[in-house]
């Protein structure tokens, strides 16, 4: 076989502060180097182009989820979850996890979520200026997920910290990961002992325990499901909603287009996700020697999927560095794709469409200050964003 080894980029740390805060120049350089590049510093093979990423996500036999994280401790801790398993085991775990998350089970929530979003946006518009991440990006998904699962006020107060830590520890064993393991451990410990009585009557959280009591799902899985709702559903959605406000602030012409045509709400959310992927890197383990775009990745290698690099691949999207809410990139990679495609994407869409719809109804223009970003291993989000002035509609 004449296949060559992937090109190595010797000095790059994918998880350095500089790359995490602004990964797009690195994504461009890697993507133009090759579809797969070897990064010896991180001991990973990074997938950089749209087609190879989508193909890898679809091929669960070659690209195993046994190693979605970049350190052995987190992969060990995630064993037995749908996130970290492969078909056929994955199929049942996924069905159990998503039973209450599919669009068909969430249909009844649409109206409530829209009401919550609109009340929040109306209040912020009224105030004239606000801090977008705390007052909207964080508050709203936490409220939605907490109401859905039925959390008490005490748990609501820790959801953000737990959700951030659960994502952070998926990174390589750097200082951020080490510091966050104890916090992720608190979340895990709480989910291991939570019971139906801790959750509000009538909530989805309680119904999961009731399903467990009826034997519809295996014993001791209810806590794990709640763990995944919290671990995966908070930090990523916080990032996406913060990005909506920041991008609408930076591109008033794009907000104006949605204001004129509300049918663009869904397209606009797809474009926000394409333009700034909430998840920086996600792992897979290669189960056999595999040729990717003419380069051989050996069996057993750790892969890093760079969703944000694929989303800006000019081989797939015209003018990929332009933020264009009319583009409707419905096949963007930010939710992943295939059997492991984001289980919460239906809920994320409900939340984001509600926020975008309310902003487009109530806001003429947002004058935003400088966004502050803090490096974080997996979730790329804005940490603070002042909205200096709201010009109401």
């Amino acid at each position: 076989m004449s296949t060559k080894a992937p090109i190595a980029v010797g000095d790059l740390d994918l998880f350095s502060d500089e790359v995490l805060v602004d990964p797009y120049p690195t994504y461009t350089a890697l993507r133009e180097t090759a579809a797969v590049v070897h990064l010896p510093v991180n001991d990973v093979y990074a997938l950089t182009r749209y087609d190879v990423i989508r193909d890898a996500l679809a091929d669960t036999e070659t690209f195993s989820s046994a190693s979605i994280g970049f350190n052995p401790m987190v992969n060990e801790a995630l064993q037995g979850t749908s996130l970290a398993s492969d078909p056929p085991v994955h199929t049942q775990l996924r069905a159990t996890l998503s039973a209450n998350l599919t669009p068909r089970s969430l249909r009844g929530l649409k109206g409530q979520i829209e009401e919550k979003a609109d009340a929040l946006v109306a209040e912020l518009v009224e105030s004239g200026s606000f801090e977008a991440i705390d007052a909207l990006g964080r508050v709203f998904p936490i409220q939605v997920v907490a109401d859905l699962i039925g959390f008490t006020d005490e748990i609501r107060a820790t959801m953000l910290r737990w959700g951030q830590a659960a994502m952070e520890v998926i990174g390589p064993m750097n200082q951020r990961t080490a510091e966050n393991f104890p916090v992720a451990g608190e979340l895990y410990a709480w989910c291991s002992q939570v019971s139906a009585d801790d959750l509000a009557p009538g909530s989805v959280g309680r119904s999961i325990f009731e399903a467990e009591a009826r034997g519809e799902i295996p014993p001791n899985t209810a806590g794990h499901i709640i763990h995944q709702y919290l671990g995966a559903g908070v930090d990523t959605t916080v990032a996406a909603i913060g990005n909506i406000v920041a991008l609408f602030g930076q591109h008033p012409d794009q907000l104006a287009l949605i204001r004129k045509d509300h049918a663009l709400v869904g397209s606009a959310f797809n474009e926000v996700l394409r333009y700034w992927a909430p998840v920086h890197a996600w792992g897979r383990r290669v189960t056999r020697d595999v040729e990717i775009d003419g380069a051989l990745v050996p069996a057993g290698s750790q892969v890093a999927i760079l969703f944000g690099a694929g989303n800006r691949d000019p081989r797939h999207y015209d003018a990929p560095d332009t933020f264009d809410v009319t583009r409707n990139p419905v096949d963007h990679l930010s939710f992943g794709y295939g059997p492991h495609g984001c289980a919460g994407q239906g809920l994320a869409r409900l939340e984001a469409h509600a926020i975008i719809g309310s902003l487009a109804t109530r806001v003429e223009r947002l004058v935003v200050g400088e966004a502050r970003r803090v490096p974080s291993n997996i979730t790329r989000s804005i940490d603070a964003l002042p909205v200096l002035e709201v010009v109401p509609a």
């Binding site: 069905a95 599919t102 295939g338 059997p339 495609g341 994407q345």
Partner: protein, 64 residues
Amino acid sequence: MRIELDRPRCEGHGLCEEEAPALLHLDDEGELVLDRDEVAEGTPEAAAASAAVRVCPVAALRLA
């Protein structure tokens, strides 16, 4: 060409319906219904079917 649905994998995201409303739809329960499962190659229906397959976020649809 035949549109095939992996029913257990379908979660009702409904993106396929936006691409090919003449071929499939979500019913009142949010279950996907294939209104037509055969499309002739090279026709606009085949293009719509192919787009529907492509946008399924969980890869529950395929063309055979």
